[in-house]
Protein backbone atom coordinates (compact mmCIF):
# COMPACT_ATOMS: atom_id res chain seq x y z
CA UNK A 1 0.00 0.00 0.00
CA UNK A 2 1.66 3.18 -1.15
CA UNK A 3 1.09 6.19 0.97
CA UNK A 4 1.12 9.68 -0.51
CA UNK A 5 3.44 11.92 1.46
CA UNK A 6 3.52 14.97 -0.82
CA UNK A 7 0.75 16.16 -3.10
CA UNK A 8 1.35 19.20 -5.23
CA UNK A 9 -1.60 20.49 -7.25
CA UNK A 10 -1.25 23.04 -10.03
CA UNK A 11 1.26 25.28 -8.32
CA UNK A 12 2.71 28.26 -10.12
CA UNK A 13 5.35 30.69 -9.00
CA UNK A 14 6.20 33.90 -10.78
CA UNK A 15 9.05 36.18 -9.87
CA UNK A 16 8.85 39.83 -10.76
CA UNK A 17 12.31 41.09 -11.43
CA UNK A 18 12.13 44.89 -11.38
CA UNK A 19 14.41 46.85 -13.68
CA UNK A 20 15.40 49.01 -10.75
CA UNK A 21 15.06 47.34 -7.40
CA UNK A 22 13.58 49.39 -4.60
CA UNK A 23 15.47 48.65 -1.42
CA UNK A 24 14.74 51.71 0.68
CA UNK A 25 11.90 53.93 1.72
CA UNK A 26 13.70 56.80 -0.04
CA UNK A 27 13.59 54.89 -3.34
CA UNK A 28 9.93 54.09 -2.74
CA UNK A 29 9.07 57.77 -2.25
CA UNK A 30 11.14 58.93 -5.22
CA UNK A 31 9.61 56.31 -7.48
CA UNK A 32 6.03 57.11 -6.48
CA UNK A 33 5.27 58.87 -9.73
CA UNK A 34 7.36 56.80 -12.08
CA UNK A 35 6.03 53.63 -13.62
CA UNK A 36 7.64 50.53 -12.27
CA UNK A 37 8.80 48.23 -15.00
CA UNK A 38 9.79 44.65 -14.41
CA UNK A 39 10.45 41.35 -16.12
CA UNK A 40 8.30 38.39 -15.25
CA UNK A 41 9.92 35.07 -14.74
CA UNK A 42 7.84 31.92 -14.54
CA UNK A 43 9.87 29.81 -12.15
CA UNK A 44 7.13 27.20 -11.88
CA UNK A 45 4.27 26.90 -14.29
CA UNK A 46 1.30 24.79 -13.23
CA UNK A 47 3.17 21.93 -11.62
CA UNK A 48 1.35 18.88 -10.30
CA UNK A 49 3.13 16.09 -8.56
CA UNK A 50 2.50 13.21 -6.22
CA UNK A 51 5.22 11.63 -4.18
CA UNK A 52 4.81 8.42 -2.22
CA UNK A 53 6.41 7.52 1.06
CA UNK A 54 9.75 5.80 0.58
CA UNK A 55 10.49 7.15 -2.86
CA UNK A 56 13.94 8.41 -3.76
CA UNK A 57 13.33 11.10 -6.32
CA UNK A 58 16.02 12.60 -8.47
CA UNK A 59 15.27 16.00 -9.96
CA UNK A 60 17.23 17.09 -13.01
CA UNK A 61 17.09 20.10 -15.26
CA UNK A 62 19.11 23.05 -16.37
CA UNK A 63 19.80 26.03 -14.14
CA UNK A 64 16.71 28.19 -13.86
CA UNK A 65 14.34 25.40 -14.79
CA UNK A 66 12.50 25.55 -11.47
CA UNK A 67 14.07 22.72 -9.48
CA UNK A 68 15.30 24.84 -6.59
CA UNK A 69 12.12 26.92 -6.51
CA UNK A 70 10.07 23.75 -6.10
CA UNK A 71 12.30 22.62 -3.25
CA UNK A 72 12.01 26.01 -1.57
CA UNK A 73 8.24 25.85 -1.88
CA UNK A 74 8.18 22.33 -0.45
CA UNK A 75 10.39 23.54 2.40
CA UNK A 76 7.94 26.38 3.05
CA UNK A 77 10.45 29.17 2.39
CA UNK A 78 8.56 30.42 -0.65
CA UNK A 79 4.83 30.38 -1.02
CA UNK A 80 3.31 29.59 -4.41
CA UNK A 81 1.20 32.17 -6.26
CA UNK A 82 -1.50 29.60 -6.87
CA UNK A 83 -2.12 25.93 -6.34
CA UNK A 84 -2.22 23.62 -3.36
CA UNK A 85 0.39 21.64 -1.51
CA UNK A 86 -0.15 19.05 1.15
CA UNK A 87 2.71 17.45 2.99
CA UNK A 88 2.14 14.70 5.53
CA UNK A 89 5.40 14.57 7.36
CA UNK A 90 8.30 16.46 8.80
CA UNK A 91 10.94 17.91 6.53
CA UNK A 92 14.68 18.26 6.86
CA UNK A 93 15.89 20.65 4.18
CA UNK A 94 19.37 21.13 2.80
CA UNK A 95 18.89 23.98 0.36
CA UNK A 96 21.54 25.64 -1.76
CA UNK A 97 24.70 24.50 -0.06
CA UNK A 98 23.66 24.35 3.48
CA UNK A 99 21.40 24.78 6.38
CA UNK A 100 21.67 28.25 7.82
CA UNK A 101 24.66 28.71 10.02
CA UNK A 102 25.73 31.79 11.88
CA UNK A 103 29.40 32.49 11.24
CA UNK A 104 29.98 33.96 14.68
CA UNK A 105 28.82 30.83 16.43
CA UNK A 106 30.99 27.76 16.94
CA UNK A 107 30.25 24.42 15.30
CA UNK A 108 28.79 23.18 18.58
CA UNK A 109 26.50 26.19 19.00
CA UNK A 110 25.35 26.02 15.41
CA UNK A 111 24.54 22.33 15.76
CA UNK A 112 22.37 23.04 18.77
CA UNK A 113 20.64 25.97 17.10
CA UNK A 114 20.00 24.20 13.81
CA UNK A 115 19.18 20.90 15.42
CA UNK A 116 16.51 22.62 17.48
CA UNK A 117 15.11 24.40 14.44
CA UNK A 118 14.94 21.04 12.65
CA UNK A 119 12.92 19.73 15.56
CA UNK A 120 15.48 17.52 17.30
CA UNK A 121 14.86 17.50 21.04
CA UNK A 122 17.64 18.68 23.31
CA UNK A 123 18.39 15.32 24.93
CA UNK A 124 18.34 13.61 21.56
CA UNK A 125 20.61 16.30 20.18
CA UNK A 126 23.11 15.68 22.97
CA UNK A 127 23.10 11.97 22.12
CA UNK A 128 23.51 12.60 18.43
CA UNK A 129 26.11 15.33 18.85
CA UNK A 130 29.15 13.07 18.53
CA UNK A 131 27.67 11.33 15.49
CA UNK A 132 27.03 14.65 13.78
CA UNK A 133 30.60 15.81 14.41
CA UNK A 134 32.20 12.55 13.40
CA UNK A 135 30.12 12.25 10.22
CA UNK A 136 31.32 15.73 9.27
CA UNK A 137 34.90 14.76 10.27
CA UNK A 138 35.20 17.92 12.34
CA UNK A 139 36.23 16.48 15.73
CA UNK A 140 39.06 18.99 16.03
CA UNK A 141 36.93 22.01 15.22
CA UNK A 142 33.97 21.58 17.57
CA UNK A 143 34.57 24.90 19.31
CA UNK A 144 35.79 26.86 16.32
CA UNK A 145 33.63 29.61 14.87
CA UNK A 146 32.22 28.39 11.57
CA UNK A 147 33.19 31.59 9.75
CA UNK A 148 36.75 30.27 9.78
CA UNK A 149 35.65 27.02 8.11
CA UNK A 150 36.46 26.20 4.51
CA UNK A 151 33.48 25.76 2.21
CA UNK A 152 33.97 22.00 2.34
CA UNK A 153 33.98 21.88 6.14
CA UNK A 154 30.91 24.11 6.22
CA UNK A 155 29.03 21.93 3.77
CA UNK A 156 30.00 18.73 5.58
CA UNK A 157 28.72 20.09 8.87
CA UNK A 158 25.54 21.40 7.25
CA UNK A 159 24.81 18.09 5.58
CA UNK A 160 25.57 16.17 8.73
CA UNK A 161 23.08 18.24 10.74
CA UNK A 162 20.43 17.91 8.03
CA UNK A 163 20.58 14.12 7.84
CA UNK A 164 20.65 13.62 11.59
CA UNK A 165 17.25 15.25 11.91
CA UNK A 166 14.70 12.49 12.24
CA UNK A 167 12.47 13.72 9.43
CA UNK A 168 10.11 11.92 7.05
CA UNK A 169 11.23 13.86 4.01
CA UNK A 170 14.74 14.99 3.13
CA UNK A 171 15.02 17.80 0.60
CA UNK A 172 18.52 17.88 -0.81
CA UNK A 173 19.57 20.58 -3.24
CA UNK A 174 23.00 20.11 -4.81
CA UNK A 175 24.36 18.17 -1.86
CA UNK A 176 26.85 16.53 -4.13
CA UNK A 177 28.30 19.73 -5.47
CA UNK A 178 30.49 20.06 -2.40
CA UNK A 179 32.91 17.94 -0.50
CA UNK A 180 35.40 15.44 -1.78
CA UNK A 181 34.43 12.25 -3.57
CA UNK A 182 34.58 10.06 -0.48
CA UNK A 183 32.28 12.43 1.42
CA UNK A 184 29.86 12.58 -1.50
CA UNK A 185 29.78 8.80 -1.53
CA UNK A 186 28.97 8.68 2.16
CA UNK A 187 26.22 11.26 1.67
CA UNK A 188 24.53 9.35 -1.07
CA UNK A 189 24.93 6.04 0.74
CA UNK A 190 23.35 7.51 3.85
CA UNK A 191 20.45 8.82 1.80
CA UNK A 192 20.11 5.43 0.18
CA UNK A 193 19.96 3.71 3.55
CA UNK A 194 17.28 6.23 4.61
CA UNK A 195 15.24 5.24 1.60
CA UNK A 196 15.40 1.64 2.74
CA UNK A 197 14.06 2.76 6.12
CA UNK A 198 10.99 4.17 4.36
CA UNK A 199 12.07 7.81 4.32
CA UNK A 200 11.34 9.97 1.31
CA UNK A 201 14.24 11.66 -0.40
CA UNK A 202 14.09 14.39 -3.00
CA UNK A 203 17.49 15.07 -4.50
CA UNK A 204 18.33 17.80 -6.96
CA UNK A 205 21.56 16.98 -8.68
CA UNK A 206 23.60 17.59 -11.77
CA UNK A 207 25.38 14.31 -11.17
CA UNK A 208 23.32 12.07 -13.42
CA UNK A 209 25.21 8.93 -12.47
CA UNK A 210 24.23 9.33 -8.82
CA UNK A 211 20.59 9.75 -9.79
CA UNK A 212 20.79 6.77 -12.06
CA UNK A 213 22.32 4.66 -9.31
CA UNK A 214 20.11 5.61 -6.39
CA UNK A 215 16.87 7.26 -7.44
CA UNK A 216 13.76 5.16 -7.86
CA UNK A 217 12.14 7.83 -9.97
CA UNK A 218 13.37 10.91 -11.78
CA UNK A 219 11.71 14.17 -12.75
CA UNK A 220 12.94 16.48 -15.48
CA UNK A 221 12.23 20.21 -15.29
CA UNK A 222 12.35 22.52 -18.22
CA UNK A 223 11.31 26.18 -18.12
CA UNK A 224 9.24 25.72 -15.00
CA UNK A 225 7.39 22.67 -16.25
CA UNK A 226 7.75 18.97 -15.65
CA UNK A 227 8.59 17.43 -19.02
CA UNK A 228 9.37 13.92 -17.86
CA UNK A 229 8.45 11.97 -14.76
CA UNK A 230 9.43 8.35 -15.06
CA UNK A 231 12.14 5.81 -14.31
CA UNK A 232 15.59 7.42 -14.03
CA UNK A 233 16.68 5.58 -17.17
CA UNK A 234 14.00 7.09 -19.39
CA UNK A 235 14.15 10.54 -17.81
CA UNK A 236 17.91 10.81 -18.15
CA UNK A 237 17.67 9.71 -21.75
CA UNK A 238 15.10 12.45 -22.40
CA UNK A 239 17.23 14.96 -20.51
CA UNK A 240 20.28 14.22 -22.58
CA UNK A 241 18.24 14.34 -25.74
CA UNK A 242 16.80 17.74 -24.75
CA UNK A 243 19.99 19.27 -23.46
CA UNK A 244 22.25 18.32 -26.31
CA UNK A 245 21.03 20.26 -29.27
CA UNK A 246 20.09 17.49 -31.62
CA UNK A 247 19.81 18.73 -35.13
CA UNK A 248 17.28 16.07 -35.89
CA UNK A 249 13.59 16.44 -35.28
CA UNK A 250 13.42 12.73 -34.55
CA UNK A 251 12.06 11.80 -31.18
CA UNK A 252 14.02 8.71 -30.44
CA UNK A 253 14.54 7.00 -27.12
CA UNK A 254 16.84 4.17 -26.16
CA UNK A 255 15.04 1.85 -23.79
CA UNK A 256 15.19 -1.53 -22.05
CA UNK A 257 18.91 -1.36 -21.52
CA UNK A 258 20.15 -4.57 -19.92
CA UNK A 259 23.70 -5.44 -18.98
CA UNK A 260 24.39 -9.00 -17.92
CA UNK A 261 26.72 -11.95 -18.15
CA UNK A 262 26.45 -13.60 -21.52
CA UNK A 263 24.17 -16.66 -21.45
CA UNK A 264 23.61 -16.48 -17.71
CA UNK A 265 22.21 -14.30 -14.98
CA UNK A 266 25.10 -14.83 -12.58
CA UNK A 267 26.91 -11.94 -10.97
CA UNK A 268 29.52 -10.33 -13.14
CA UNK A 269 33.16 -10.80 -12.31
CA UNK A 270 36.44 -9.80 -13.89
CA UNK A 271 37.12 -11.62 -17.16
CA UNK A 272 33.49 -12.49 -17.89
CA UNK A 273 31.85 -12.11 -21.26
CA UNK A 274 29.35 -9.28 -20.88
CA UNK A 275 26.34 -8.59 -23.03
CA UNK A 276 24.63 -5.19 -23.38
CA UNK A 277 21.21 -5.10 -24.98
CA UNK A 278 18.76 -2.29 -25.73
CA UNK A 279 15.76 -1.36 -27.84
CA UNK A 280 14.78 1.74 -29.78
CA UNK A 281 11.47 3.53 -29.44
CA UNK A 282 10.07 6.34 -31.54
CA UNK A 283 10.98 7.62 -34.97
CA UNK A 284 13.92 5.50 -36.09
CA UNK A 285 15.94 6.88 -39.02
CA UNK A 286 16.51 4.63 -42.04
CA UNK A 287 20.21 4.41 -41.47
CA UNK A 288 21.59 4.24 -37.98
CA UNK A 289 24.90 3.74 -36.26
CA UNK A 290 25.69 3.14 -32.60
CA UNK A 291 28.33 4.44 -30.22
CA UNK A 292 28.96 2.52 -27.03
CA UNK A 293 31.11 3.63 -24.14
CA UNK A 294 31.91 2.07 -20.77
CA UNK A 295 32.33 4.50 -17.90
CA UNK A 296 33.44 4.13 -14.31
CA UNK A 297 31.39 5.57 -11.45
CA UNK A 298 33.14 8.92 -11.75
CA UNK A 299 32.03 9.25 -15.33
CA UNK A 300 35.46 8.63 -16.88
CA UNK A 301 35.27 6.79 -20.21
CA UNK A 302 37.27 3.55 -20.01
CA UNK A 303 36.41 2.17 -23.39
CA UNK A 304 34.45 3.33 -26.43
CA UNK A 305 33.73 2.10 -29.92
CA UNK A 306 31.20 2.61 -32.73
CA UNK A 307 29.69 0.83 -35.67
CA UNK A 308 31.07 3.38 -38.17
CA UNK A 309 34.72 2.56 -37.57
CA UNK A 310 33.90 -1.09 -37.25
CA UNK A 311 32.04 -0.89 -40.61
CA UNK A 312 29.02 -2.67 -39.25
CA UNK A 313 25.66 -1.82 -40.77
CA UNK A 314 22.93 -1.71 -38.15
CA UNK A 315 19.42 -2.80 -39.06
CA UNK A 316 16.93 -0.12 -37.92
CA UNK A 317 14.07 -2.63 -37.75
CA UNK A 318 15.38 -4.91 -35.00
CA UNK A 319 13.46 -5.10 -31.74
CA UNK A 320 16.55 -5.76 -29.64
CA UNK A 321 20.18 -4.89 -30.24
CA UNK A 322 23.05 -6.54 -28.41
CA UNK A 323 26.69 -5.73 -27.98
CA UNK A 324 28.96 -8.50 -26.67
CA UNK A 325 32.16 -7.79 -24.81
CA UNK A 326 34.61 -10.63 -24.38
CA UNK A 327 36.70 -11.37 -21.29
CA UNK A 328 36.14 -7.90 -19.87
CA UNK A 329 39.21 -6.84 -17.82
CA UNK A 330 37.34 -4.48 -15.48
CA UNK A 331 38.32 -4.26 -11.84
CA UNK A 332 35.70 -4.92 -9.15
CA UNK A 333 33.41 -1.85 -8.93
CA UNK A 334 30.45 -0.05 -10.42
CA UNK A 335 30.29 0.85 -14.12
CA UNK A 336 27.90 2.42 -16.58
CA UNK A 337 27.36 2.12 -20.28
CA UNK A 338 26.55 5.01 -22.56
CA UNK A 339 24.74 4.20 -25.77
CA UNK A 340 24.20 6.75 -28.54
CA UNK A 341 22.49 6.57 -31.93
CA UNK A 342 23.90 8.40 -34.96
CA UNK A 343 22.09 8.96 -38.25
CA UNK A 344 23.68 8.89 -41.69
CA UNK A 345 24.73 12.56 -41.47
CA UNK A 346 26.66 11.65 -38.30
CA UNK A 347 24.15 13.54 -36.16
CA UNK A 348 23.52 12.20 -32.68
CA UNK A 349 19.78 11.48 -32.56
CA UNK A 350 19.55 9.72 -29.20
CA UNK A 351 21.72 8.96 -26.26
CA UNK A 352 21.34 7.29 -22.90
CA UNK A 353 23.92 8.22 -20.32
CA UNK A 354 24.71 6.15 -17.28
CA UNK A 355 22.85 3.10 -18.46
CA UNK A 356 23.08 0.18 -16.12
CA UNK A 357 24.77 0.44 -13.73
CA UNK A 358 26.44 -2.92 -13.55
CA UNK A 359 28.84 -4.10 -10.92
CA UNK A 360 31.82 -6.37 -11.17
CA UNK A 361 32.60 -8.43 -8.10
CA UNK A 362 34.52 -9.25 -6.06
CA UNK A 363 37.49 -6.90 -6.01
CA UNK A 364 40.68 -8.90 -6.53
CA UNK A 365 44.05 -8.17 -4.99
CA UNK A 366 45.68 -6.73 -8.09
CA UNK A 367 46.64 -3.17 -8.83
CA UNK A 368 46.22 -0.93 -11.88
CA UNK A 369 43.35 0.55 -13.84
CA UNK A 370 42.29 -2.74 -15.42
CA UNK A 371 42.25 -6.27 -14.11
CA UNK A 372 43.43 -8.87 -16.60
CA UNK A 373 43.09 -12.60 -16.03
CA UNK A 374 46.53 -14.16 -15.80
CA UNK A 375 48.59 -17.22 -14.93
CA UNK A 376 52.00 -17.35 -13.33
CA UNK A 377 54.20 -19.95 -15.07
CA UNK A 378 57.17 -19.60 -12.79
CA UNK A 379 57.10 -22.76 -10.75
Amino acid sequence: MTQKIITVQNISKKFKIPHTKITSLRDEIFSLFSTKTYEEFHALDDISLEINKGEFIGIVGKNGSGKSTLLKILAGIYSPDSGKISINGSISPFLELGVGFNGDLTARENIFLNGTILGIEETELKNKFDDIISFAELEKFVDTKVKTFSSGMYARLAFSVAIHADADIYLMDEVLAVGDISFQKRCIETLHSYKNKGKTIILVSHDLSQIKQHASRAILFENGKIVADDSPERVLSTYVQHSQIFESEHQLLITNVAIHKKDSSDELSTGDDISISWSLEGAIPHEIDFIIAIQDDNGAVLFATNTIHDTVTADPSLTTYTFDLKKVPLRGGIYFAEISVIDKQFRKVASIPYAGPFSISPPRKTRGSVDILYNWNVT
Binding site: I77, S79, G100, N102, D104
Partner: protein, 253 residues
Protein backbone atom coordinates in the same frame (compact mmCIF):
# COMPACT_ATOMS: atom_id res chain seq x y z
CA UNK B 1 4.49 23.46 21.83
CA UNK B 2 7.45 22.28 23.90
CA UNK B 3 9.54 22.33 20.74
CA UNK B 4 8.55 25.97 20.17
CA UNK B 5 9.69 26.67 23.72
CA UNK B 6 12.99 24.88 23.16
CA UNK B 7 13.45 26.83 19.95
CA UNK B 8 12.83 30.18 21.64
CA UNK B 9 15.26 29.21 24.41
CA UNK B 10 17.91 28.32 21.85
CA UNK B 11 17.38 31.54 19.90
CA UNK B 12 17.60 33.66 23.05
CA UNK B 13 20.80 31.84 24.02
CA UNK B 14 22.19 32.53 20.56
CA UNK B 15 21.34 36.23 20.84
CA UNK B 16 23.19 36.41 24.15
CA UNK B 17 26.24 34.68 22.74
CA UNK B 18 26.35 36.85 19.66
CA UNK B 19 25.76 40.08 21.48
CA UNK B 20 28.12 39.63 24.37
CA UNK B 21 30.55 37.30 22.65
CA UNK B 22 30.04 34.84 25.53
CA UNK B 23 31.95 37.17 27.84
CA UNK B 24 30.95 38.44 31.28
CA UNK B 25 32.51 41.81 30.50
CA UNK B 26 30.43 42.12 27.37
CA UNK B 27 27.38 41.56 29.47
CA UNK B 28 28.47 44.03 32.14
CA UNK B 29 28.84 46.62 29.40
CA UNK B 30 25.17 46.39 28.48
CA UNK B 31 24.31 47.15 32.10
CA UNK B 32 26.86 49.93 32.27
CA UNK B 33 25.56 51.77 29.24
CA UNK B 34 22.44 53.31 30.82
CA UNK B 35 24.45 54.07 33.96
CA UNK B 36 27.06 55.98 31.98
CA UNK B 37 24.40 57.93 30.11
CA UNK B 38 22.84 58.70 33.46
CA UNK B 39 26.16 59.86 34.95
CA UNK B 40 26.79 62.27 32.08
CA UNK B 41 23.28 63.69 31.93
CA UNK B 42 23.04 63.93 35.70
CA UNK B 43 26.30 65.87 35.82
CA UNK B 44 25.32 68.22 32.99
CA UNK B 45 21.82 68.99 34.17
CA UNK B 46 21.94 68.90 37.94
CA UNK B 47 25.48 70.23 38.46
CA UNK B 48 26.10 72.57 35.48
CA UNK B 49 22.59 73.77 34.70
CA UNK B 50 21.44 73.19 38.25
CA UNK B 51 17.95 71.89 37.48
CA UNK B 52 15.97 72.20 40.66
CA UNK B 53 13.67 69.28 41.10
CA UNK B 54 13.16 66.94 44.03
CA UNK B 55 14.69 63.54 43.33
CA UNK B 56 16.06 64.72 39.96
CA UNK B 57 18.76 62.04 39.84
CA UNK B 58 16.44 59.13 40.66
CA UNK B 59 13.85 60.43 38.23
CA UNK B 60 16.51 60.67 35.53
CA UNK B 61 17.89 57.18 36.15
CA UNK B 62 14.44 55.60 36.19
CA UNK B 63 13.50 57.35 32.95
CA UNK B 64 16.79 56.44 31.25
CA UNK B 65 16.41 52.77 32.16
CA UNK B 66 12.85 52.75 30.77
CA UNK B 67 13.94 54.64 27.65
CA UNK B 68 16.90 52.28 27.11
CA UNK B 69 14.50 49.34 27.34
CA UNK B 70 12.34 50.98 24.68
CA UNK B 71 15.15 52.02 22.31
CA UNK B 72 17.22 48.81 22.57
CA UNK B 73 14.09 46.70 22.29
CA UNK B 74 12.77 48.39 19.17
CA UNK B 75 16.21 48.52 17.51
CA UNK B 76 16.91 44.86 18.22
CA UNK B 77 13.43 43.92 17.05
CA UNK B 78 13.85 45.92 13.85
CA UNK B 79 16.99 43.95 12.99
CA UNK B 80 15.73 40.58 14.22
CA UNK B 81 14.67 39.08 10.87
CA UNK B 82 17.60 40.47 8.89
CA UNK B 83 20.02 39.13 11.48
CA UNK B 84 18.67 35.63 11.01
CA UNK B 85 18.56 35.82 7.21
CA UNK B 86 21.10 33.01 6.89
CA UNK B 87 18.82 30.61 8.71
CA UNK B 88 15.46 31.87 7.47
CA UNK B 89 16.35 31.37 3.80
CA UNK B 90 17.22 27.74 4.48
CA UNK B 91 14.79 26.38 7.03
CA UNK B 92 11.19 27.24 7.56
CA UNK B 93 10.71 28.98 10.86
CA UNK B 94 7.72 31.06 11.92
CA UNK B 95 8.98 34.63 11.74
CA UNK B 96 7.20 35.68 14.92
CA UNK B 97 9.37 33.25 16.87
CA UNK B 98 12.49 35.02 15.64
CA UNK B 99 11.05 38.45 16.44
CA UNK B 100 9.71 37.36 19.82
CA UNK B 101 13.02 35.74 20.86
CA UNK B 102 14.91 38.91 20.02
CA UNK B 103 12.77 40.85 22.50
CA UNK B 104 13.33 38.32 25.28
CA UNK B 105 16.96 39.03 25.90
CA UNK B 106 16.18 42.75 25.95
CA UNK B 107 13.64 42.02 28.68
CA UNK B 108 16.26 40.10 30.65
CA UNK B 109 18.71 43.00 30.33
CA UNK B 110 15.94 45.37 31.47
CA UNK B 111 15.19 43.26 34.55
CA UNK B 112 18.88 43.23 35.47
CA UNK B 113 18.98 47.00 35.00
CA UNK B 114 16.08 47.23 37.44
CA UNK B 115 18.20 45.53 40.08
CA UNK B 116 20.75 48.30 39.65
CA UNK B 117 17.95 50.85 39.85
CA UNK B 118 16.88 49.19 43.10
CA UNK B 119 20.39 49.65 44.47
CA UNK B 120 20.19 53.36 43.68
CA UNK B 121 16.83 53.57 45.42
CA UNK B 122 18.47 52.07 48.50
CA UNK B 123 21.41 54.50 48.11
CA UNK B 124 19.06 57.49 48.07
CA UNK B 125 17.02 55.81 50.83
CA UNK B 126 13.89 56.07 48.76
CA UNK B 127 11.27 53.43 49.51
CA UNK B 128 8.56 52.83 46.90
CA UNK B 129 5.24 51.42 48.04
CA UNK B 130 3.68 48.17 46.85
CA UNK B 131 1.30 50.26 44.76
CA UNK B 132 4.29 51.94 43.09
CA UNK B 133 5.66 48.51 42.19
CA UNK B 134 2.37 47.46 40.66
CA UNK B 135 2.09 50.58 38.51
CA UNK B 136 5.73 50.34 37.48
CA UNK B 137 5.18 46.77 36.34
CA UNK B 138 2.05 47.67 34.38
CA UNK B 139 3.77 50.56 32.59
CA UNK B 140 6.86 48.46 31.88
CA UNK B 141 4.57 45.88 30.36
CA UNK B 142 3.08 48.63 28.18
CA UNK B 143 6.58 49.42 26.91
CA UNK B 144 7.05 45.74 26.14
CA UNK B 145 3.81 45.69 24.14
CA UNK B 146 5.06 48.69 22.13
CA UNK B 147 8.40 46.94 21.54
CA UNK B 148 6.79 43.67 20.46
CA UNK B 149 4.23 45.36 18.22
CA UNK B 150 6.80 47.62 16.62
CA UNK B 151 9.20 44.72 16.08
CA UNK B 152 6.56 42.49 14.48
CA UNK B 153 5.64 45.19 11.99
CA UNK B 154 9.04 46.76 11.42
CA UNK B 155 11.24 43.67 11.12
CA UNK B 156 9.57 42.42 7.88
CA UNK B 157 9.38 45.98 6.54
CA UNK B 158 13.08 46.44 7.21
CA UNK B 159 13.80 43.56 4.82
CA UNK B 160 12.03 45.57 2.12
CA UNK B 161 13.25 49.03 3.09
CA UNK B 162 16.86 48.91 4.18
CA UNK B 163 17.02 52.55 5.21
CA UNK B 164 14.50 52.03 8.01
CA UNK B 165 17.22 51.65 10.60
CA UNK B 166 18.71 55.08 9.84
CA UNK B 167 15.26 56.57 9.97
CA UNK B 168 14.53 54.82 13.26
CA UNK B 169 17.82 56.01 14.78
CA UNK B 170 16.90 59.63 14.04
CA UNK B 171 13.37 59.14 15.36
CA UNK B 172 14.76 57.60 18.55
CA UNK B 173 17.05 60.58 19.06
CA UNK B 174 14.11 62.93 18.50
CA UNK B 175 11.99 60.83 20.84
CA UNK B 176 14.60 61.00 23.58
CA UNK B 177 14.38 64.80 23.62
CA UNK B 178 10.64 64.85 23.06
CA UNK B 179 9.98 62.98 26.29
CA UNK B 180 10.19 64.04 29.92
CA UNK B 181 13.54 62.33 30.57
CA UNK B 182 16.16 65.01 31.14
CA UNK B 183 13.58 67.64 32.01
CA UNK B 184 10.27 67.46 33.83
CA UNK B 185 7.08 68.02 31.83
CA UNK B 186 6.37 71.26 33.72
CA UNK B 187 9.39 72.93 32.12
CA UNK B 188 7.77 72.75 28.70
CA UNK B 189 5.29 75.46 27.71
CA UNK B 190 1.80 73.95 27.44
CA UNK B 191 1.42 74.85 23.75
CA UNK B 192 4.18 72.32 22.98
CA UNK B 193 2.78 69.49 25.09
CA UNK B 194 1.03 67.94 22.11
CA UNK B 195 4.44 67.48 20.49
CA UNK B 196 5.55 65.41 23.43
CA UNK B 197 2.30 63.51 23.62
CA UNK B 198 2.77 62.04 20.14
CA UNK B 199 5.68 60.16 21.61
CA UNK B 200 4.13 56.98 23.08
CA UNK B 201 6.82 56.95 25.77
CA UNK B 202 5.81 60.35 27.15
CA UNK B 203 2.62 59.09 28.76
CA UNK B 204 4.41 56.16 30.38
CA UNK B 205 7.36 58.21 31.66
CA UNK B 206 5.06 60.91 32.97
CA UNK B 207 2.98 58.42 34.88
CA UNK B 208 5.87 56.37 36.22
CA UNK B 209 7.51 59.56 37.48
CA UNK B 210 4.27 60.78 38.98
CA UNK B 211 3.46 57.50 40.67
CA UNK B 212 6.94 57.18 42.16
CA UNK B 213 7.94 60.72 42.97
CA UNK B 214 4.86 62.93 43.30
CA UNK B 215 3.36 62.48 46.74
CA UNK B 216 -0.06 63.96 46.13
CA UNK B 217 -0.49 62.42 42.68
CA UNK B 218 -4.05 61.55 41.84
CA UNK B 219 -4.44 58.62 39.52
CA UNK B 220 -7.14 59.27 36.92
CA UNK B 221 -8.59 56.28 35.17
CA UNK B 222 -9.94 57.80 31.93
CA UNK B 223 -6.67 58.89 30.25
CA UNK B 224 -5.15 55.54 31.18
CA UNK B 225 -8.00 53.66 29.56
CA UNK B 226 -7.69 55.79 26.45
CA UNK B 227 -3.97 55.12 26.37
CA UNK B 228 -4.38 51.36 26.77
CA UNK B 229 -7.03 51.42 24.06
CA UNK B 230 -4.72 53.25 21.66
CA UNK B 231 -1.93 50.84 22.57
CA UNK B 232 -4.10 47.81 21.85
CA UNK B 233 -5.28 49.29 18.56
CA UNK B 234 -1.68 50.03 17.57
CA UNK B 235 -0.63 46.50 18.50
CA UNK B 236 -3.40 44.97 16.38
CA UNK B 237 -2.42 47.20 13.45
CA UNK B 238 1.15 45.96 13.81
CA UNK B 239 -0.06 42.34 13.70
CA UNK B 240 -2.00 43.12 10.52
CA UNK B 241 1.16 44.57 8.95
CA UNK B 242 3.14 41.55 10.12
CA UNK B 243 0.64 39.16 8.58
CA UNK B 244 0.62 41.09 5.33
CA UNK B 245 4.37 41.10 4.84
CA UNK B 246 5.64 38.02 6.65
CA UNK B 247 4.34 35.69 3.91
CA UNK B 248 6.34 37.10 1.06
CA UNK B 249 9.26 38.79 2.73
CA UNK B 250 11.54 35.74 2.72
CA UNK B 251 11.92 36.03 -1.02
CA UNK B 252 13.61 39.39 -0.56
CA UNK B 253 16.09 38.33 2.09
Amino acid sequence: MTQTGALIKQLVKTDFKLRYNSSVLGYAWSLLKPLLIFTILNFVFSKIFGVENPNYSLRLLTSIILWTFFSEGTTTGLHSIMNKAGILTKIKLPLWIVVFSSTIHIVITFVLNLIILGLFFVLYSFVPTLEDFLFFTIYSFCIYIIILGFSLAAAPLYVKYRDLHQIWEVLLLGGFYAAPIIYPMQLIPTEFHWLLQINPMTFILQHVQAVLFVDDFKFSIVPNFIYFGVLLLGFLTCIVIYRKYSQTILEEL
